[in-house]
């Protein structure tokens, strides 16, 4: 056992090394540095700044800075935080307890709710309870967590039942120990609930699937046959076995919570690691970021190790020393990966970073590759789809979800025609205008007009007898239908200067409805493009790794492990900052897709590798090999069709990740930029207390749309899974 632990820890060393190198490299690509704030101050002289640059080592290239850091880090000195002027470990250790407390309590909370629900849903499979609980579980993951956090904050401020953020009460220093504990949990409650909410759905679905598997197992029949009560069969035998996989997922669940905690910590002002790291990212406090990311990855590694040990304790069938003979090979794979990455970084120095036309070419070739990938995905998925869609339409949920998606995508296509205004048409005299009310007057549809009764709180009142008729097919702002047909006609409108606001107006008097439609073009295609990239990349790398095996397999899998070990949101922020300067602000859309897919492909690749491995053993592959078919052909013609159904399900289920991912980035101010519109951007602009308090509720409509679409994709994926393979093992990818 001790040997096993030592070996695992030894292997984590190159991993942490690569992660730190990766993060440092990404941060060095980001423009500007820690002294930007000082540079913008009018009374700090240039000499002072030069001296500071020297003091911080910022005048040296990144690899020298890294080397300096590394030589110190080996001795346990992880550098100096420029913001706080102390050693980073001192700062980080202060924050660890709060984050771990939050992560564990939210995980416990999610399990306490999800495990019983999952068990019950499995026992009463197909009942109303099963359906309702899964619907609710999906609902819980269909809204971005920052939205829940703000609702919780609003709830706390209105009812006064819970504190509005913070770790403890202001006067808690003077409390008795008992009161302190109570105070601590009182402050923990809301953030833990909000953070735990996201885990419930996934955990519940996995539990349900595990439990179903166990119920069908032989030993359950045996137990029943020997006359055990149903209660003991279910809870003493099946339950214990069904719980095992959760212990395995502990490590990864933990890392997910670490990055998820970033947003919740920020909103609830919970002084944890996430909040600290995010601020450090923004200020480019390099060593602090580096240490925090390494710490996060380290926690993941330790978490996984603990999970494996716990698993072996609870399940005697599992032996830890399995695979011990391969340790040298494993070590070589690691060394190879590290060497490869270092060579890549070295080569990166020779890229023409400043050459704009070069990057333009890179982008164009990226688009071409994407189109090829897209065609390839459609080509592969087509047989499955042709088979599945008729069946899907016959099932009520299938038909409804398809119809909802058709409506949303249809509206996105026709956004220019259906919306009365463009995304940027503003009216400063009508800011925060409520939705206009329809009336039937003079034999036609009309809308009321409003005047601003109290400008200081944006209160509007209808004008008596001020109704104006709604006109159909009116001329307005020119737009391009489907991106190329220039038109001026809009489906409806009213005589200017009156305005028709189906869903109210925003802070500069722009029409929320029009922006919602234009925003759907971005939000809805983002998922599709992202999925295309992840699926193509995942299949290419995972498939080849599974089929070829050997060193390609080892290196590819080490790569995925590295990427998965960096808490997701941190990697997103670092990547975005690094690539930002190569994109025009109007190309943010592409940047976000690239960044999200870079993180997304790893999971798919690992699953596809596993599936390829098992398909490879089947007789028809051997037959094909004997016939002398090329490897590529076997992979494309024989392996791929057998895992295509998985690809379809997985693609459907990953679209929501992109929509919500964009929303999270937008909330942090790193997403789509004005004047373009996206649902995430619109929702993040509604995240102000005045919107809640003054009742500008229409600004949440983008959230409703997001909820509907994400929910629909989740339900569709679930339905597809039921159709394609009812016994399909649910992959826990949360």
């Amino acid at each position: 056992m001790i040997g096993y632990i030592l070996r695992r820890l030894a292997i984590s060393v190159p991993m942490l090394l690569v992660i730190s190198l990766l993060v440092f490299f990404l941060m060095s690509l980001a423009p500007g540095d820690f002294l930007d704030t000082a540079r913008s101050q009018r009374d700090i002289s240039e000499e002072t700044i030069h001296r500071l640059e020297k003091q911080y080592g910022l005048d040296k290239p990144w690899y020298i800075q890294y080397e300096r850091w590394l030589t110190k880090a080996v001795t346990g000195d992880f550098g100096y935080s420029w913001t706080y002027k102390v050693n980073v470990s001192e700062i980080l250790l202060q924050r660890v307890p709060a984050t771990i407390g939050l992560a564990i309590s939210s995980m416990l909370l999610a399990w306490l709710i999800a495990l019983p629900l999952g068990v019950l849903a499995a026992i009463y499979k197909g009942s109303v309870f099963d359906r309702v609980s899964s619907l609710l579980a999906y609902a819980a993951i269909s809204l971005p967590d920052f939205f829940f956090a703000l609702v919780a904050l609003f709830f706390a401020s209105v009812t006064g039942l819970f504190p509005v953020g913070g770790l403890t009460s202001i006067t808690s220093d003077f409390f008795s120990p008992g009161a302190k504990i109570a105070d601590y949990f009182w402050h923990l409650a809301l953030p833990a609930v909000v953070l735990g909410l996201g885990g419930i759905a996934g955990t519940m679905r996995v539990m349900r699937a595990n439990f179903l598997d166990q119920i069908r197992a032989e030993y359950v029949n045996t137990a029943r046959a020997k006359g055990l009560s149903e209660f003991s069969v279910m809870f003493k035998h099946a339950l214990r076995n069904a719980i095992n996989p959760f212990i395995t997922s502990l490590g990864f669940a933990f890392s997910g919570l670490l990055s998820g905690a970033l947003i919740v910590e920020n909103i609830f002002n919970y002084p944890g690691l996430g909040q600290l790291t995010y601020q450090a990212f923004l200020r480019q406090d390099k060593y602090l970021v580096l240490a925090a990311v390494v710490l996060g990855a380290g926690m993941l590694i330790v978490g996984n190790l603990l999970a494996d040990i716990l698993l072996s304790l609870s399940d005697p069938r599992i032996r830890l020393n399995r695979g011990g003979a391969f340790r040298f090979r494993q070590l070589f794979a690691w060394l190879g990966t590290v060497a490869l990455i270092i060579v890549l970084f070295y080569l990166a120095r020779f890229l023409p970073w400043e050459n704009k036309s070069f990057w333009q070419d890179v982008k164009v070739s990226g688009v071409i590759l994407l189109v090829i990938g897209g065609l390839f995905v459609i080509y592969t998925a087509w047989p499955v789809l042709r088979q599945i869609i008729p069946k899907l339409v016959r099932r009520p949920i299938g038909a409804i979800t398809l119809a909802v998606l058709a409506i949303f995508y249809g509206l996105a296509l026709l956004a220019g025609f259906v919306s009365p205004y463009s995304t940027s048409d503003q009216d400063l005299t009508k800011t925060f205008h409520p939705p206009t009310v329809f009336v039937w007057k003079n034999g036609g549809l009309g809308v009321k007009t409003y005047h601003n009764a109290d400008r200081s709180i944006a209160k509007y009142e209808p004008v008596a007898n001020g109704e104006v008729p709604v006109k159909w097919f009116v001329a307005g702002t020119p737009y391009k239908l489907l991106g190329f047909i220039p038109l001026k006609t809009h489906l409806f409108g009213v005589e200017s200067p009156n305005k028709i606001y189906l869903m109210g107006s925003d802070a500069t008097g722009r029409d929320v409805f029009s922006r919602l439609l234009y925003g759907s073009q971005i939000s809805l295609t983002l998922g599709l493009i992202g999925v295309t990239i992840t699926m193509s990349l995942g299949f290419l790398i995972g498939g080849l790794a599974g089929y070829l095996g050997g060193s390609f397999d080892s290196i590819a899998m080490r790569l995925t492990e590295i990427i998965m070990s960096v808490p997701g949101l941190y990697l997103l922020i670092a990547l975005r900052a690094a690539l930002y300067k190569f994109f025009d602000p109007s190309e943010m859309f592409i940047l976000i897709v690239v960044v999200l897919s870079f993180i997304g492909w790893t999971g798919t690749a690992r699953v596809i590798r596993g599936m390829t491995l098992s398909v490879r053993q089947l007789p028809f592959i051997h037959a094909a090999e004997t016939m002398g078919q090329s490897r590529l052909k076997i992979l494309l013609k024989h392996v791929l069709p057998n895992i295509a159904s998985y690809l379809v399900i997985s693609a459907t289920m990953s679209v929501p990740g992109y929509i919500l991912g964009e929303a999270s980035l937008s909330f942090l101010g790193l997403g789509i930029m004005e004047p373009s519109a996206s649902w995430g951007l619109m929702l993040s602009q509604a995240q102000e207390m005045k919107v809640f308090m003054l009742g500008f509720s229409w600004l949440f409509i983008p959230g409703v749309a997001m909820f509907l679409v994400v929910m629909t994709f989740n339900l569709l994926g679930d339905e597809l899974r039921d159709l394609i393979d009812p016994k399909f093992k649910t992959e826990n990818r949360l």
């Binding site: 706080y84 214990r240 002002n269």
Partner: protein, 597 residues
Amino acid sequence: MQKPRTPIILAISVLLLPLLVSCSRVQLPARQNLPLPEDVDIANCPPGKVGATFITTMSSEPSSFNPLVIEDAYSNDIVGNMLSGLVDMDPVTQDIIPGLAKSWEISADKKTYTFHLRRGVKWSDGEPLTADDVIFTFDCIYDQRYPNRNEQQFTIAGQHLKYEKIDDYTVRFITPDLYSPFLNDIGVAILPKHSLFASYRDGSLQKQWTVATGINTPDSIPCSGPFKLLSYRPGDRLLMIPNPHYWRADANGQRLPYINLYVVKFVKDTNAELVNFCTGQTEASAISAADVGWVQHAQKTYHFTIYNQGPAASIGFIWFNQNPGRNKKGEPFIPSYRLAWFQDVRFRQAVSYGFNRRGLIDGVFFGRATELHSIISEGNLKWHNPNTPRFDYNPSKAAQLLADMGMKKRNDGNLYDASGNPVEFEILVPSASTTGPQIMTSFKENMKDLGINVKISYIDFGTMMARTGQSFDYDSGIMGFTGGGDPSGGKAIYLSSGRMHLWNPSQKTPATPWEARIDELMSLQEKTFDPARRKTLIDEMQVIFAEQRPLIFLVTPNTYLGLKDKWHNTKKDLRGYLVFKQEELWADPDEKEVRHE
């Protein structure tokens, strides 16, 4: 089922970890009644009651407690409560009043300043505060091992100040040249020599008084201000208690401050900050113009009042790149025809006329903002010139000016210059700015009405600094500066040689006659000691900036302050805005707060 419980027990014990860290119960030390110093300063305020707790929020944390290191306003605020300077500023009149120095004399040639320190003043650890501390402070500021922002401030005409100790309670400063804002600048925090001299000598001065000091040994920072540090928990809160040796007292001989515990809670999210205030959990809070509408609903329930503090002292503006230089490859930073527009004052005036700032105020700021007309905001009452030329929204005037430049609108609705180039420009907007997008969308629409196409580029702050300060490959940008204080503090912006002279920084000789005139005015006013005469010089400078419009001024949101009604000893300044000194504030500690009437 024995085994699966282990993880749960483990989990619960980890959960309780943070408690163990903070389990020691803090006892608030009792107020000591130490004798007052010989030269005690008697505060000009009605006596109050001792004992209340003051709780406020701050959105950012201190980066250090060392005045030689800090660069941000938040740390400054906190350290300002802990350390005193030789002189202070009266919040009501904005005049310079005595601080650690009870009086001073200025020589006939206006170059020698002699300060007399208060006798009997002690640091919070009981050590006497003397001229040695003052000399030590300036030794630190000028030491090349410790880069700090004060050094530049005390470099006059390229030379350092001369300073010497006359006796234990007298120090003398000699300025190398005439320098009228000297008294404004000299109020820097005085450092305790007895506590810092060892680290000054061994070169580790900048590693003293860090946040770690605040966390681990808060008592090791000797203070001369009204408060001293009790405890600091990063990300959470900072507690301060009265300095038992503070040098001010009230008319009854009660040593200030009245507040027994001063709590600063760190709340990063402004939403949460406001919710904290409007549910009665904090005593005071700044409130942004857009939020006053809903925060005021809670005024009656939680007994607070929102005071309009008038326009902020900061300025916000759009500027055009007027840099005629060339990059390393020998290409001009921006195409010459564009440079010609940007250098034409008519263009800049036209943009000013064409921007509907009034509409912006009504729509976006709920009517709670003021149009900015001068480079010194109305918020800086002492120096603002109310009579600068105004450029109120007037699209037809704007169109006329553009036509005068030979620009014509064609059938496609776009404006073209005399050589047929479409009039369009890109504007850089820092992506972190919250009101930026709203101002920009409205600016873009206004320019569209004139036929000018504006491309808005949201970029992060680092890129913006690099492009506007190093590579200069940009058309225009939007930015803001904090303001207030003496106009000499804005030299980096005003002078043509300044680093923050954004439109054309670090010029060797002034590029235009008006920039030359501003350089001249700035240097004149530094040598002028008559306040009224100085004001006329600064007024003229503001008129030139307003006419020439190198900066297209935007709007200044009004600032609002919420304060609970139970606090006494607040004052009104010359404009009628609420001001107070933390150390003079008091509330009845026995009064129970009534909530939800």
